[in-house]
């Protein structure tokens, strides 16, 4: 059974008197361990899709099931728990807390999971080690490069051992080389069993994924599976 299942998901936004159909009937199923990239023109509904799948928002209609649980009609507190336990987010703008050490940034989800301080530190250290930043634990974001900041953000996404990693244009604020490093990190994490969904505009980035979902006007217009991984990278 698929880990993530969307059925006829609709999301409308009311702008003034006009209704914007950000998602207009999206159905898709993603299995555990998949590496999916989401592409499409600006405004096609990619971020909206990620937000719904990431339990940050609820659809107007349709259903979203995560790990067999219907998350589309959970209360906001239950959604917060799901986000905390099952999902790791990586954002384009990193969204690290300034003046807070990399370690404490990474440990943040554990704070809300009710993990005690000692274990928080241990697990945050481990997560930082996984992204290759063990030696930067006490640095604050301003003392880190963009790529390092994004890796701290990835460590934060990983720290609570989520089932699924969601990244909305994670390389958008990075140069190509750094972006590729980040994508290789995702690839490694995926190979270790993590489900990864990445939104991107760049074909080279999308090429890291095995499956590409293309959005247009709030609909998935193509869903392609790369049997053979692009070896040019």
């Amino acid at each position: 059974m698929a880990f993530l299942r969307c059925h006829d998901v609709h999301k409308d936004y009311l702008v003034g008197t006009e209704t914007v159909r950000a998602l207009d009937g999206v159905s898709v199923a993603i299995d555990r361990g998949e590496f999916v990239s989401v592409m499409g023109p600006s405004g096609s509904g990619k971020s909206t899709f990620m937000n719904l799948v990431g339990c940050l928002d609820r659809p107007n209609s349709g259903s979203i099931e995560l790990d067999g649980e219907r998350v589309s009609d959970l209360t906001s507190d239950s959604l917060a728990s799901v986000r905390n336990q099952k999902i790791g987010f990586v954002f384009q703008q990193f969204n690290l807390l300034g003046r807070t050490s990399a370690l404490d940034n990474v440990a943040l989800p554990l704070l809300y999971a009710g993990v005690d301080r000692g274990e928080r530190t241990t697990r945050a250290d481990e997560a930082l080690a996984r992204v290759g930043l063990a030696d930067r634990a006490q640095h604050v974001p301003a003392q880190l490069s963009g790529g390092q900041q994004q890796r701290v953000a990835i460590a934060r996404a990983l720290v609570n051992s989520p089932d699924m990693l969601l990244a909305d244009e994670p390389t958008g604020a990075l140069d190509t080389a750094t972006g590729q490093e980040i994508m290789r990190l995702f690839q490694a994490l995926n190979e270790a069993g993590l489900t990864v969904i990445v939104v991107t505009h760049e074909a080279e980035v999308a090429d890291y994924a095995r499956r590409i979902l293309r959005f247009r006007d709030g609909l998935i217009t193509s869903d392609t599976l790369d049997e053979v991984r692009n070896v040019a990278v």
Binding site: A80, N84, N95, Y112, G114
Partner: protein, 410 residues
């Protein structure tokens, strides 16, 4: 999240904007400090006044010639017949409730011992004075009847004079010069402490009434036997009003004041005078405390203002915390605890400031420090309450944010 974690998180947040946090706290600091300082200083003043009443001698009436004194022009003072030692004697003889009636004249002059000199108030007193004014001896003896009779050159020294001229130790038998007249010290008075504001009761030298009359206070201003003040002490406090009426009657008769004519003397109940002053001071203190509590409210509004700014500024942080699993309650508590922490810290600093002020004022005024612990506890509770009250709205605003919108904000 445990309360401890919440407090840690809020401390971190407050540290990031240290200057702002301190400035925000200032309102609460000033408010709490002012309220506590007012109440504590007030309590100290009250205690001091109680002691003053004690020192003045309870149930003491003071009679002075002239129809009005203590503020306002003294009317009919010189023109009227002044009080005399006979008046004093008559009062004691005719009014049974009077326990002691003392005549006293007063002037100022220099006291010299060796090469030391000190300007002080000189009292010419009679035998009842010590009883009527509640003076006690620290060393030596009182004047003897013969000394009163003969106008002997003997003196009793107030504590301040002893300290200024002799430092400490036995002063009995010492030779001093008062206004260049040689005197022998026969005793020293127990200290009463500061009284009537700047007027130091212990800064005094007492000599027999007749001695003062003849040699020290001069005849030019006083006829022989004329008395400036008569002090009357009454055995029964409830009889004070009655005794006052009796005194008026006796003196009017003796001075032949016809019906409808004004008194040529006035009577003051010294306890009442002090109490009136206390009341005035209490009202003043309460006014100040009221002003101070207004500043607490203003401080609370300042906290709310800054918390609202902080919530707006940290929208992205709120969004992120929500994205990684913070529930509305967590966000709400985080900001509430932040506001309460600000207020409590402000309150604690305010208490420290207040106690410092109080100790300083008490030191200067010579009052006892009477920390009103209930008020301190109320102040702490009150500042926490201010934090909750004024922090609630900003905290709820933070918790109600939509995570996606919050993450997208600048």
């Amino acid at each position: 999240m445990s309360l401890f974690e919440l407090v840690r998180v809020s401390f971190d947040a407050l540290r990031v904007n240290l200057l702002r946090s301190v400035l925000t706290m200032l309102g609460i600091v000033i408010g709490v400090a002012a309220v506590i300082a007012m109440v504590t200083v007030g309590a100290g003043a009250q205690a001091e006044v109680d002691r003053q009443i004690e020192a003045l001698g309870s149930n003491v009436l003071m009679i002075r010639s002239g129809s009005r004194w203590f503020g306002g022009a003294r009317t009919a003072a010189g023109s009227a017949q002044s009080l005399t030692v006979e008046d004093t004697r008559a009062l004691k003889a005719e009014i049974p409730e009077i326990a002691a009636a003392a005549s006293a004249n007063r002037g100022s002059g220099q006291v010299v011992v060796g090469n030391m000199n000190w300007s002080t108030t000189i009292y010419g007193i009679d035998a009842d004075y010590m009883i009527a004014r509640n003076w006690e001896l620290a060393q030596g003896r009182e004047f003897e009847p013969a000394e009163f009779r003969n106008g002997a050159k003997v003196a009793l020294l107030g504590n301040t004079v002893v300290e200024e001229l002799f430092g400490a130790g036995n002063v009995v038998g010492q030779a001093i010069r008062i206004k260049n007249v040689p005197f022998t010290v026969v005793g020293a008075l127990k200290a009463k402490g500061q009284s009537f504001g700047p007027w130091d009761q212990d800064d005094t030298v007492m000599v027999p009434f007749k001695t003062a009359e003849g040699r020290l206070l001069g005849k030019s201003t006083h006829r022989t036997g004329s008395v400036r003040d008569i002090y009357v002490s009454v055995g029964d406090a409830d009889a004070m009003d009655l005794v006052e009426l009796d005194i008026t009657e006796v003196l009017r008769q003796r001075h032949r004041i016809g019906p409808g004519e004004q008194d040529t003397f006035s009577i003051r109940n010294m306890t009442e005078m002090v109490e009136a002053r206390v009341e005035a001071r209490q009202i003043f203190n309460m006014l100040l405390a009221a002003v101070a509590s207004v500043s607490l409210v203003v401080g609370g509004i300042g906290i709310m203002n800054i918390m609202l700014v902080s919530v707006t500024e940290r929208t992205r942080e709120i969004g992120l915390r929500m994205a990684v699993g913070a529930k509305e309650r967590d966000i709400m508590l985080q900001f509430l605890v932040e506001a309460v922490t600000l207020c409590l810290l402000g309150g604690l600093i305010g208490i420290v400031v207040a106690l410092t002020i109080t100790v300083g004022v008490a030191e200067i005024a010579g009052w006892p420090v009477l920390v009103q612990w209930p008020i301190v506890i109320i102040a702490i509770a009150f500042s926490a309450a201010i934090g909750i009250f004024f922090g609630f709205y900003p905290a709820r605003k933070a918790a109600a944010k939509d995570p996606i919108e919050a993450l997208r904000s600048e």
